[in-house]
């Protein structure tokens, strides 16, 4: 019997030792889990950001391709205390939502941006803006009437001078802004006007005008590209980066920067992560490394605000960037705050309006 016990004790000790050394191995081999876009963005990020990051810090990055439903997933994780992600991409519209629900750790700017070099409007309490993307009007130039050029939302609304099928995104966000711009509201007053009942009516009334000419209301960026490339529609707002797909497949298409809606994407740290230090290190790396970012935008036109980003950039490429001064000037900055506050009520009216 005692023999058996001794045997048992030996096995137990051996197990403990093995388990202990496995723990040590894990500690030496640091790894953070990052939830970010899949597809091309994931592929390019691996090459441009994660590889060099591991080289610089020794921390590996385990990438989880983010689904459209990442906010519900995040909330479920934080609520259950089982946080699987250490850092994550957050869209401009999801950011206020996550803040309201308390799903993010506060950013320690003494570590991320100690010299205060990032623009003030990119430094949020619970996230750092790392990239900009715009919803801009994309025009099939081969379908334009001879000698004409579409230059604004007013032109998009002008079905007599610019005949042809059009599409819009099937959500109220950005569309109400576009309608007000088409109706002559100056860009800086859009949200002031939208905040009033009359302003909202005005936007919907303007949308009434274009409604019969809208072939379809797209729900994903991929769909908008498909619509333009199939010739299903000639004029359609989409994300600025999507133009590359069109042009590289030989479709003559052009961005109208004027009146575009610029959105910021944030990088944030889920509340309760076990790797806060490493995650903060990654946030710093992702938002302030100008040379990495310059290389990144040669693959994808989603630039951030790393100090010195445009120094030495090919001017032709710079002209394709939403944050390039000439482009940024003619766009408006989409207000995530406005939509966080009003989306529920407006969306109901929007759905009702679509069904009419």
């Amino acid at each position: 019997m005692t023999k058996l016990l001794k045997q048992f004790a030996k096995v137990a000790v051996a197990t403990l030792v093995v388990a202990g050394s496995a723990n040590l191995a894990l500690a030496a081999d640091k790894e953070i889990t990052f939830s970010g876009s899949g597809g091309v963005v994931g592929k390019v990020s691996k090459e441009v950001w994660w590889g060099p990051y591991t080289e610089a810090t020794g921390t590996k990055i385990n990438h989880v391709a983010a689904e459209a439903k990442r906010m519900p997933q995040l909330e479920a994780m934080v609520k259950s205390g089982n946080v699987l992600w250490d850092a994550m991409e957050v869209s401009a519209s999801d950011y206020p939502l996550g803040v309201k629900k308390g799903l993010f750790e506060a950013i320690d700017y003494s570590l991320v941006d100690p010299d205060n070099q990032l623009p003030a409007d990119t430094r949020e309490e619970f996230g750092v803006a790392y990239a900009a993307y715009s919803q801009v009007l994309i025009v099939r130039t081969d379908k334009l009437p001879d000698g004409k050029k579409m230059e604004s939302w007013a032109d998009f609304w002008d079905v007599e001078n610019f005949p042809g099928p059009r599409a819009l995104r099937g959500r109220a966000e950005d569309n109400l802004e576009f309608a007000l711009l088409a109706d002559g509201v100056p860009a800086e007053d859009i949200y002031k006007v939208l905040s009033t009942e009359e302003g909202l009516d005005r936007a919907f009334a303007k949308l009434d005008e274009i409604k019969p000419h809208i072939t379809t209301w797209w729900t994903s960026g991929a769909q908008s590209v498909q619509l333009l490339s199939d010739g299903e529609v000639y004029f359609c707002p989409s994300y600025n980066g999507r133009i590359t797909t069109l042009v590289s497949s030989g479709i003559p298409a052009e961005i109208v920067w004027n009146g575009g809606a610029m959105h910021k994407s944030y990088i944030a740290i889920p509340k309760g992560t076990e790797h806060l230090k490493e995650a903060t290190e990654y946030v710093k790396f992702r938002t302030t490394s100008a040379d990495r970012m310059r290389e990144y935008v040669t693959h994808l036109p989603y630039p951030g605000w790393a100090p010195g980003l445009f120094d030495g950039m090919d001017p032709k490429m710079a002209a394709n960037m939403p944050t390039f001064p000439a482009n940024q000037k003619v766009q408006f900055s989409a207000s995530a705050e406005f939509w966080a506050e009003n989306l529920d009520a407006i969306q109901e009216r929007w759905t009702e309006w679509l069904l009419q």
């Binding site: 519900p72 939502l97 809208i214 109901e348 009702e352 679509l354 069904l355």
Partner: protein
């Protein structure tokens, strides 16, 4: 002996029962809870839902679309199933295989395929213009008609298989007996085969109906602006993290579906009784 037999047969059901309780009943109850506790007891979600025209309007559209899809599927699948049942055994397997092939493709891909077929510059329009039937492309994509076409194509195999398996249960000698007793071929089908096979058709139609009630990708891709389904509204609310309201919409959708299924069953029973008894020729 009898009791023992009974025990073994119920025992076989346990895994299925466990799955149903763990992965269906409990989550459903949890959704019901989420719709009225947020976090304290509240009826605000249901009040908002019933206080606005949008949600009931969309529920009605969803039901109407699902009923029509189920009806079209039933009508198309019936003769196909009848045809397959009449074949020799080996051919039956081959035809069923053909029916199953489209099921191996994802719904998303099949929906996109319909966009290629029905689009402005798509296959049908290219053909029509090429043959000189029309100069301007016909608008087929982004219409409610396109939703019917795509959803029927996607759900038809399910209807055929259910209908077929019900038909294989029918003893074809019964029809022969009816003929011997003086029934005309059409009467034999209507008074004997149709009532016996209708149960399977109704079961298939109910499955198709329930699946349609939850559809959202296909209508969003090929439908027009009015082809909004309840599932689209639920998806939107979940994305906004409005769990309570999303749960309330789900509960309304669930109740609507169950009520419709009960009505369909009732109606089909009346129909079968009429077919067997009434209509002396």
């Amino acid at each position: 002996m009898n009791a023992k037999k009974k025990f073994t047969s119920t025992w076989l059901l346990w895994p299925a029962l466990f799955m149903l309780v763990a992965f269906f009943l409990i989550p459903t109850l949890d959704i019901l809870r989420a719709s009225v506790y947020d976090p304290e007891f509240t009826t605000k979600h249901f009040a908002k839902l019933l206080g606005s025209n949008v949600y009931l309007d969309v529920l009605w559209r969803t039901i109407r679309l699902s009923v029509i899809v189920a009806l079209i599927c039933a009508v198309i699948a019936y003769p196909i199933s009848y045809f397959i049942v009449q074949r020799p055994r080996k051919q039956q397997i081959f035809f069923l295989f053909l029916v199953f092939i489209p099921l191996w493709m994802s719904v998303l891909i099949r929906s996109y395929a319909w966009m290629v077929v029905l689009g402005r510059e798509g296959m049908i329009n290219a053909l029509l213009i090429g043959l000189g039937f029309t100069d301007e492309p016909v608008k087929m994509l982004f219409t409610t008609g396109a939703v019917y076409v795509a959803m029927v194509q996607i759900l038809l195999p399910i209807q055929i298989v259910t209908c077929y398996s019900a038909m294989t249960e029918i003893d074809l000698d019964l029809m022969r007996a009816a003929r011997i007793l003086g029934a005309k071929p059409w009467q034999a089908i209507r008074r004997v085969f149709l009532p016996l096979s209708l149960d399977g058709t109704v079961t298939g139609a109910i499955i198709v109906f329930m699946l349609s009630m939850g559809f959202f990708i296909t209508p969003a891709l090929v439908g027009g602006r009015k082809d909004i389904m309840m599932a689209n509204l639920i998806e939107f609310q979940v994305q906004q993290l409005n769990w309570g309201f999303a749960a309330a919409i789900s509960i309304v959708l669930l109740i609507g579906t169950v009520l419709c299924v009960i009505i369909i069953k009732r109606l089909s029973k009346i129909l079968i009784r009429r077919l067997v008894g009434g209509g002396h020729a």
